[in-house]
Amino acid sequence: MAVTEDVAKEGIEQETVDAVKTVGEKYKYGFETDIEMEYAPKGLNEDIVRLISEKNNEPEWLLEWRLAAYRRWVQLEEPDWAMVDYPEIDFQDQYYYARPKSMMEKPKSLDEVDPKLLETYQKLGIPLREQMILAGVEGAEDIPAEGRKVAVDAVFDSVSVGTTFKEELAKAGVIFMSISEAVQEYPDLVRKYLGSVVPVSDNYYATLNSAVFSDGSFVYIPEGVKCPMELSTYFRINAENTGQFERTLIVADKGSQVSYLEGCTAPKRDIAQLHAAVVEIVIMEDADVKYSTVQNWYPGDEEGKGGIYNFVTKRADCRGDRAKVMWTQVETGSAVTWKYPSCILRGDDSQGEFYSIAITNNYQQADTGTKMIHLGKNTKSRIVSKGISAGRAQNTYRGLVTMHPKAKNSRNFTQCDSLLIGDKCGAHTVPYIEVKNNSSRVEHEATTSKVDDEQMFYCLQRGMDEEEAVALIVNGFAKEVLQALPMEFAMEAQKLVAISLEGSVG
């Protein structure tokens, strides 16, 4: 680009057009796996709910729980208060259950696994040993692992296809398996905690999830145990017209500790797909849970076609005194994001933290934030939200901080920063604050800025190209949140920040 204005204008516009055109192409995980699937009939009714329950061989109480949720859901109306705009979802035009056929019988060796399933995991960057375990190969668990250990549960469309490091975790007393297995093996634990944080009646999408959730992960960390490795769940939507409704339940007993990571991808399709998950975390006295998400669902193409509609309910309940929870999320994907990971600070001196980076480009829309419900004395919460908008995207932070009458001497600090790239995008901050006692303190800071031309030129003069420069500046803007992520995740997230913003400048 030369310095003359007319040349620059023409050149930039062409460059921008070309760059934007390739954005959709650059979504690395947009491939589709052509694999034989078993589907439930399309649409949603009581029979489908029964069928899902039957596929998972569930006890009667769970079927009843699901049916109660379904009957409630049909009477509910989809909420419309969020700052997101999307065509009406036809809930009858979806599949609610899909699983790879090869999962019906456990393969004996790698040769028997549908190679396409393995290929999928390989493309997603999962190591071979993990690929084998995830594909359900018998004996794969006995092969020694290399490098640092992270236990993985992978959910492919509606079912969990395998969990790694189960035995090693079991030695420490940690239970980590798919929730469908947990229903069979630990029915009492599941029954005790399922729906205790996010009740069936909570909200439209949570109620829908309660009726049709097909799988997900279950974690139990016993009293005093520090989980010997990081746990992670990998969510993959592959099948067409299929919603993914997974349910994660984490219980951290007294004095325990665990760090949990969650990653998500989906193929590129013209038709939007639905993802409505529920995550419940129960944290007892002195326990500490860190939950990190890198959400990279397909965001739709450069014209806003396709992509995942992500309606997720995540909540942690600090039931015991001095319980601690930290949510960290990097949201770069999805066409529509509706997500408010929340903390109920019930125990005295309990602490909740929420760190978030939400990046929207092209026509993406995100309405995301958190709720900090202070119930106990001396409870503390901290919110750091970094919203980045480019293209024609809209990015909203929506957060609630409430101090109940008994939450004496509690404190909250909220910082919401928005960064705009270009002049066709939007950033919005919607804080709700309720204080019902006079000894608590709530602080809220918000800023909105644009990527500064002087900063850009400084980087360019030192030899960086425009995309490198934007990525560097944005990563700097989001640094406080990136630092809250586990090491490997932070590296990945940094790269993702750069990829998500490709084509946003010209």
């Binding site: 003359t4 031309d453 980087c459 360019l460 030192r462």
Partner: protein, 251 residues
Amino acid sequence: MFEIKNLKASLADEDKQILKGMDLTIGDGEVHAIMGPNGSGKSTMSYVASGKPGYVVDEGEVLLDGVNLLELDPAERAAAGLFLAFQYPVEIPGVGNMTFLRTAVNAQRKARGEEELNAAEFLKLVREKAKSLKIDADMLKRPVNVGFSGGEKKRNEILQMAMLEPKMCILDETDSGLDVDAMKLVSEGVNALRDGKRSFLVITHYQRLLDHIKPDVVHIMADGRIIKTGGPELALEVEHNGYADLLNEVA
């Protein structure tokens, strides 16, 4: 060799020509200084040469070893070997100084088809260069220029210059806002980079900087062009008599 040939340039936003036919040739290894009253176009020349948006080139060429820089984008000009030490280095919150330096060094190496430096190689190099400029480890870790004093910012510019090893360095009023000690430190940093091949163009208002960075040639600029060229004694003359006589001489 760095050459500016009949350079005419205007502000993009208003129809106002700032550079009105500037000519300048700096041979390899030479140090030239440009002095001149406010508004004479000294800084504009540095921005136009490095490709800052907001200016329109009406005529002329800026050549570095025969390559017309005006046909390249700013990053390509940097990779070709042009470095601008800014008068007001910007702050980039959250971006560590080291990260910034490494990204810049590797971006240029990549653009030139050279292998990128790995973390260990880079660290060794940066520590070595930082030491001579009295830049401590803490300053390397802090976000780029955030909370830096005037002197620290200018030293940081020289550190970037040392790391990027450009062919041609333009120093835009590097002495502004510096006390005597800081100016000495910065000048020593610049002098250490004089290797007989690298060329410098020092833009300044004051002769005192030229006591430390000794120029081979001094130019006086006024109203968008060079009006007089001479040896170091020309700077002393300006220091004593101001620009008035020179301007009258031309007029």
